[in-house]
């Protein structure tokens, strides 16, 4: 009986101690800094990001070591979390892989105007009128293919080709991402701008039923195509760059879609940052924006993602395997939808994708 009492007392005591310990940790650690702290040096910055953590964490670490400001990051965040937290703002900065979602947040009045030094290096085409968000890197959509399974001539060359069910017949089929993926959302928005909703819905239905694999992210697709699990996959061009770096399974090529005369041009999108309205660390956020616009840090934003820099003169460093395959963004035929227009399409696109069922599919 004594032993039993001891055990119970131990449980109670340790529960109590644990909660004390944890309280101590949280009040020290993640509690938003008080207004008094703000006036002096910025100490902390909360970043939400929906870009691949591999690229973003390196950038944030560099920021911390350059400025001494501690960064607390939430990777894999959805832009709509900013809307949900509108009355309880936690984030200072949102880093997005899709300019459309930043545009949408801005439309909802959740981003805040900014005027950091160096903003003039970003072309107006790639930033909001009040600079509440701006882009640093660009990418074009296209098809990564496995050269062991198909030749460049045999590949589809236009996004319209994917209406054709014959592409379901290629060896191991082709792969797309889930409709919830930011890149796919941007792509569908661009098609709606080009074609209208009806044709776009048919296109989604076609790729939904003809594709052999539906994945959560593009990283999985590039690896699957590299390994021959699928003949080709719909991704952003920099995933092709990344696959070239793999020690094996790197015999892949890339098709920029719709480059011919009279065709719409490749769908493009951009990645960038937005300044969240009413964030807890205003000074830290301002410091981050100015820091990011420095040429070397714009290059660091691209980092391992191997995207294309809007300011290609700041030259992101590409590895030797990738360098020969880098196509200058200006030499591509790009669809004429302004990327900052994407935000106006965001909501309608989500509805269209939901209606199609692609938002939940995986296979």
């Amino acid at each position: 009986m004594i032993k039993v009492k001891k055990v119970i007392a131990l449980i109670l005591a340790s529960a109590f101690l644990m909660s004390l310990l944890v309280t101590g940790c949280t009040t020290k650690g993640t509690a938003p800094s008080s207004p008094a702290d703000q006036k002096s040096e910025p100490r902390e910055l909360v970043v939400y990001s929906n870009r691949n953590e591999k690229f973003v964490q390196a950038l944030l670490d560099k920021f911390s070591s350059d400025t001494g400001i501690k960064v607390v990051a939430l990777h894999g965040a959805n832009p709509l979390q900013i809307i949900e937290e509108a009355n309880n703002v936690r984030a200072d900065i949102f880093i997005s892989n899709d300019l459309g979602s930043l545009g949408y947040l801005h439309l909802q009045g959740l981003l805040q105007e900014s005027n950091p030094n160096g903003i003039e290096t970003i072309p107006e085409f790639f930033r909001a009128d009040d600079n509440a968000f701006f882009a640093i890197s660009v990418r074009a959509r296209g098809l990564i293919y496995n050269k062991d399974l198909i030749t460049e001539e045999d590949m589809p060359k236009s996004v319209e080709d994917l209406f054709d069910p014959k592409w379901a017949e290629v060896e191991n089929g082709y792969a797309i991402t889930r409709g919830g993926n930011g890149g796919m959302l941007g792509h569908v928005s661009a098609l709606r701008y080009q074609w209208g909703d009806e044709k776009t819905a048919l296109w989604i239905a076609a790729i939904r039923s003809n594709s052999a694999g539906i994945y959560q992210g593009h990283g999985e697709i590039r690896r699957a195509v590299g390994a021959g699990e699928h003949t080709f996959g719909l991704v952003n061009n920099y995933y092709f760059h990344q696959q070239l770096l793999e020690p094996d399974n790197n015999n892949v090529g890339f098709i920029y879609l719709d480059q011919g005369d009279g065709q719409m041009g490749a769908v493009s999108n951009a990645a960038g940052v937005g300044l969240v309205k009413g964030g807890p660390n205003e000074a830290g956020a301002a410091a981050f924006l100015e820091w990011l616009l420095m040429p070397e840090n714009q290059a660091a934003f691209v980092g391992e993602s191997l995207e294309l820099l809007i300011n290609s003169q700041f030259s992101a460093a590409y590895p030797a395997e990738t360098q020969p395959h880098i196509v200058d963004f200006n030499s591509l035929k790009i669809q004429d939808m302004p990327v900052k227009e994407l935000g106006n399409y965001f909501e309608g696109t989500k509805e269209l994708i939901q209606a199609s069922g692609l938002d939940l599919d995986l296979k």
Partner: protein, 561 residues
């Protein structure tokens, strides 16, 4: 006389407390009568009841939110989902849950019987090692199966390099991204729920029943089917519930294998912030759970089993004889697929990862986060489980069984739904705690309390109410009975429950994914992200650490339970 006086004092007290300013004594009296009737004349003490009620209220937050949210979602959304999504999701979820549950029960019961009741060589080793898959999260298992059997896995390479295989069977036939892949993987990593509960029940089983059966001329197989199995009935039910609810609430493995069940769909809807649709799907899933719990309780109500402790006698060990080799083979195959294969793959990749410097300070930060969350959750769950179980078993009434049902609902409320509710409540009403560590712990309690309740209940059901009655008749008040008689007898069960909760918390994925504060990743979250990017050398050490950290409580649980 005495009783009457007591009643009047109570009435006066109630009056002065101002409980019912306009209430006439008659209404109070009738209320009191009703109250007594509810408890069949035996109401529990106020502390016990309040504790139980608080548990019930916390558990019901997500359910209330989900119901409210889904009812206000609009008819159009309901119709769209009912037409397009729900039938397919129902089929995916129910077929998987049924198949995995049956398979897990068969494997779990057979293994438990073999290693407890027969003279299989290496008995002690098997008893312990076969519970080990409990420490391996199914999503980790899924990753290792993808590495080995995936579309470009090790066996494919082997297949393509073996001309005779390709020429006889054609192209590589294994597809882990299929119903059968998910089924096999989930079965391999959920059977221990049944195995452990059945082992515990087998150990506690009294030999008297079997001896009686044998003296009536039954042979071993008749005894197994008619006596042992029916005495195992509560254990099978408890295990089957745990497994089927686990399958319905699993996110990691199905997401890795790209098989969409309700839980995955809810997660993706929520990840796209279509909260209304997520709520609708959640409501359907809650209904499914209620049906399953109802079926179980109906089938159990027919039978009640008590064992008297006084005449307990050790069970005899049955010689396997000619069945020794098949039994060994069977046990080894399960061991191979549920323990050896995943652990070897993880060890292989961890070795690569550690040499590449995976164990940095970041890694230890994640490990500490995991440890903090799991420890606190398991301690709190042990505390909360007790009143729920005790109320239900000793004070049966509408109220206590409602609390009990709520406690279970938390489990079928897949973490995803618990997370939905908590995000809403905390974001809107408790902003100070929003996106803090506590939000995750509370959601974990909602999610894992049922495990503590289940194991505690399995052990209280073996303590006859006569023992309580004896203590009560000797003048012990109910709380003292609980503390001095029930808890000591249940302690192995309670601690085993705590250990189970610890193991479940440390591997929990979807709740942490949805609720984690910025900068607060756990090992499980790391495994998920790294494995998704196929960065196996970073995923493997984290996964291995989860497994190792789970082994200690698991060991304890096995030695006591």
């Amino acid at each position: 006389m005495c009783k009457k006086r007591k009643n009047t004092t109570k009435l006066n007290n109630a009056y002065f407390r101002g409980v019912g300013k306009q209430a006439f004594p008659t209404t109070l009296l009738s209320f009191q009568k009703k109250w007594l009737d509810t408890w069949r004349g035996n109401p529990p003490g106020p502390i016990l009841l309040i504790f139980g009620l608080i548990t019930g209220i916390i558990m019901s937050i997500p359910i209330v939110y989900v119901i409210w949210r889904s009812l206000s979602a609009g008819a159009e959304r309901w119709i769209r989902l009912l037409d397009t999504r729900i039938p397919q999701l129902l089929w995916n979820t129910l077929s998987l849950a049924a198949a995995v549950t049956i398979c897990a029960v068969v494997i779990g019961i057979s293994l438990a019987w073999i290693v407890i009741r027969t003279d299989i060589p290496g008995k002690k080793f098997w008893q312990w090692i076969l519970a080990l898959p409990l420490a391996i999260p199914p999503y980790v298992g899924a990753v290792t199966y993808i590495i080995v059997f995936g579309r470009s896995g090790w066996t494919r390479d082997l297949w393509l390099n073996s001309p005779w295989l390709t020429s006889t069977f054609g192209i590589y036939p294994i597809n882990v991204y299929s119903f059968w892949g998910v089924f096999l993987i989930l079965s391999m990593f959920t059977y221990p729920y049944v195995y452990l509960i059945a082992s515990a029940a087998l150990r506690k089983m009294n030999n008297n029943f079997e001896e009686a059966a044998r003296s009536l001329g039954m042979n071993t197989s008749q005894i197994f089917w008619r006596v042992t199995l029916s005495l195992l009935r509560p254990a099978i039910g408890a295990g089957a519930i745990l497994v089927s609810l686990y399958v319905m609430s699993d996110f990691g493995a199905v997401a890795m294998l790209r098989y969409v069940t309700f839980t995955a769909a809810i997660y993706f809807q929520r990840a796209g912030f279509d909260t209304a649709s997520a709520a609708i799907l959640s409501l359907v899933l809650i209904l499914l759970t209620i049906i399953i719990l109802w079926i179980e309780s109906v089938s159990r109500r027919k039978n009640k089993y008590f064992q008297t402790a006084g005449t307990h006698r050790e069970l005899e060990i049955l010689p396997l004889g000619k069945w020794k080799v098949p039994a060994l083979l069977y046990v080894s195959i399960i061991f191979l697929f549920s323990v050896l294969l995943p652990i070897s793959v993880l060890a292989y990749w961890s070795n690569i990862g550690i040499r590449m410097g995976a164990l940095d300070s970041r890694f230890f930060g994640f490990a500490l986060n995991s440890l903090k969350i799991s420890t606190l959750t398991s301690l709190l769950c042990m505390l909360f489980a007790l009143p729920v179980v005790y109320l239900k078993n000793r004070y049966p009434s509408i109220i206590s069984s409602a609390i009990d049902r709520l406690a279970y609902a938390g489990y079928a409320l897949p973490g995803v739904i618990a997370a939905l509710g908590f995000i809403f409540i905390f974001n809107n009403h408790l902003p100070a705690l929003y996106r803090t560590f506590y939000m995750i712990v509370l959601a974990f309690i909602v999610r894992f309390l049922p495990q503590a309740v289940q194991t505690s209940e399995a052990s209280i059901s073996l303590i006859s109410p006569r023992i309580d009655e004896a203590a009560r008749s000797l003048g012990c008040p109910p709380w003292k009975v609980l503390l001095k008689v029930i808890i000591p007898n249940m302690l192995p069960g309670i601690l085993a429950g705590g250990a189970l909760v610890f193991v479940s918390s440390i591997k929990e994925l979807p709740v942490t994914l949805m609720l984690r504060p910025p900068g607060f990743d756990t090992l499980a979250v790391r495994v998920y992200f790294e494995a998704h990017e196929a960065v196996y050398h970073l995923a493997a050490p984290a996964a291995l650490l989860i497994i190792i950290a789970s082994i200690i409580p698991l060991r304890y649980m096995l030695s006591k339970y």
